[in-house]
Amino acid sequence: MDHPFAITLDPNTSRDNLTGAWRTKRPIYGSHLPPCNHACPAGHDIQRWLYWAEEGNYQKAWEVMMENNPLPAIHGRICYHPCEDSCNRGQLDQTVSIHAVERFLGDLANREGWTVPCRPNTGQKVMVVGSGPSGLSCAYHLRRMGHHVTVYEAMPRLGGMLRYGIPAYRLPRDVLDTEIDRLAKMGIELRVNEKVDSVQEMLEWNQFQAVFLAIGAHKSKHVNIPAREAGKIFDAIGFLRDAADAPEAAQAKVGRRVAVYGGGNTAMDAARTALRLGAEETVIIYRRDQAKMPAHISELNEALEEGVRVQWLSTIKEMGEDDIEIELMELDDKGFPQPTGKFEKVKADTLILALGQDSESEFLKGVPGVKIAKDGVVEIDANMMTGFKGLFAGGDMVPSNRTAAIAVGHGKKAARCIDAFLHGKVYEPKPKKPIATFERLNTWYYTDAPKSVQPVLNQLRRLENFDETTGGLDESNALYEARRCLSCGNCLSCDNCYGVCPDNAIEKLGPGKFEIKLDYCKGCGICVTECPCGCMDMVREPE
């Protein structure tokens, strides 16, 4: 080619030199499972909805949330957030306040009246027994898949434990009602005051093509406590139910000094409710210590903040007119409480029993194939089905750790299993991606940012009423909190890989879309090292 004087090279001719031949390893883009998603019993794709929230696209973020959990405004308040316990940011500064963003988005959706679409009607009918979180979740997912769903609820109002177990100061009634209302508007048939006694016939007569049982565990366990007089002893479940539906009846039961026997979340709620209904003092009596207590630590802390006392390592021997005789226990070397023979008296005129709950599943006793354990819990297989074909179960009535999030997760999984069953197939879950651990991140790139704090009602204001004790974040705090997410294992469109390649071997196709130019990539690995979220890996060059 004719060049001008002293020019010997043409620009950009190095493109002929395919340096990709130098490689022994190559980078690949992938998607790893963020630990928050992995920990969530409802399978929330937290990183993905935070991604949209970060941009201010709250509606899209809410729609992604609704793919997994139909009750975000509720869970943002009551869930114990195992997601946050495994959030990688906790190893950097403080975990992301995922539940606070979930609550903000749920509340916003409720204010704005956002909805989700359902697939066209399939003509299949499914019966759901119980309108607690498990039943509602299952009904929701089935309805979105296009099936017709009828929910039967024995109580006068819907919600199960959400209404009758969790007090209003943790979950305001209007939030609960609005979220349930959305489900009704989707076309789910919701029937109250209808206790179900037989399900076998429903299936055999093809009234319904499948049944999901989610009756929960509402029967209080009992312990025989001799009472010198007819002192006031009653169970916590009934007490909380009255507090929800018939507050005067609940108030009438509460004396001046209330003792609660038990160490679970129900005991905490019973104690705090008693304080609001007129008790001057409340003490929780529990036979083991704090390490063994089943209640979530946050519930214990909130109870302690409100002035609830706890009498650890004690069992109740008998109840007098205005006191309770307790026996002190001590832990043996295996960690079991053993009686010491030492007794004390605790001043109390009311005793609330919160010793655990059984499931009222006697009505299933005759159904062939259904196995029921001693406390009423029903056995299910890996596809959430009992031994009777077409009869599924989930929530507190099956073996589980009994939280609302687990219940919602059961509902979603059961819906998928039922959907497969209705099509004559068996549900096969997709294989899970490897987890995005903290070591995969390059944390240099994340801006320093402490966690947002939610406003909390002070002591005096709390005990006077059932107002919500913890407030939510406003938009600017919620947006900030969402942006604290490290986006573990999933590309956050930071352009680092595109920018740090010395060979210009990564093509940017659009925001967040990149392609390795294998003709030129030398396999140096800088892109993988400098990816903040760890969504890239170096793999061996194929033979």
Binding site: N504, C524, I526
Partner: protein, 336 residues
Amino acid sequence: MTEHVKFYQTGTFTVGNRLLDEARRTVQSLMTRANSLNSGHRACQGCGEALGARYAVDTAVRETGGKMAIVNATGCLEVFSTPYPQSSWQVPWLHSLFGNAPAVASGMAAAAKVMGKDIRIIAQGGDGATVDIGFGCLSGMFERNDDVLYICYDNEAYMNTGVQRSGSTPARATTATTPGVGEQPGNKFGIGKNVPRIAMAHGIPYVATASVADLRDLERKVTRAMSFSGARYLHVHVPCPLGWGSDPAETLKVARLAVESGLFPLFEAEYGKVVGRRKIRRRVPVDDYLKMQKRFAHLFGAKGDPAAVARIQGIADANISEYQLDDIEAVKLLNI
């Protein structure tokens, strides 16, 4: 959506950020970046100089609308980017001799002026070409205040010819001509030049140090430099995985630690006075930086030399105090 919050997840630490508007992202994040040094060049895997050159020149192309020309001294950059008959450059580019890039650039700047053409001239070379053999021409260019931006890519040795020591090689680094044998293996303490300070002594309009580890800072300094006319000098720290004995995948990490330990201070000066510095974000002891490189491996381990490491730490401390790179609090925490 009202935008009260001024928090952007990765802020300005990453190359781009979808939460920032495009004007606040780097040149490198744009799909329309010039890619002045394109694919197919023969640089080693993970070459810091290739990266530094593309970063600096792409920014210059944006600033000048492409109306610029490069004079390149002999060295790694020149050799790997233009093996006859190929060239990776997409901008006008001239290969000078090893030692006269500043002089050739001065001539080109003069020619552009005579021809009445608004073409800005950038001269670039490695530390060998700049600090040693080209030093006389460089000083002349500074002294005449010719309208040239000189960019030195400092990988701290003559890498192209096999890792020989230059005036920029740091203390106790092993090179081919300062081998790791004898009582004090590697390069001696107390020798070498600080060319950014020498440039400042000439009183030229703009002098700055930069690193490939901080892209945004580098781009800002090139932009600032192009806003001046007259002699300007940019000294960019670029790791060489081969010559330093570091992992190619960790090139940016090692560059970052050079800055965060204080061994390579990032500052800028105008007319001989320091006017700005990039403070250290997360301070580290020099050990973290030195341990990543085989050229310093003899300082550690059973036959190590803690006294030498302490002396190198002293150099870092002196830089931090001289350029005020650090918070008092962070110094206390590290107890250095």
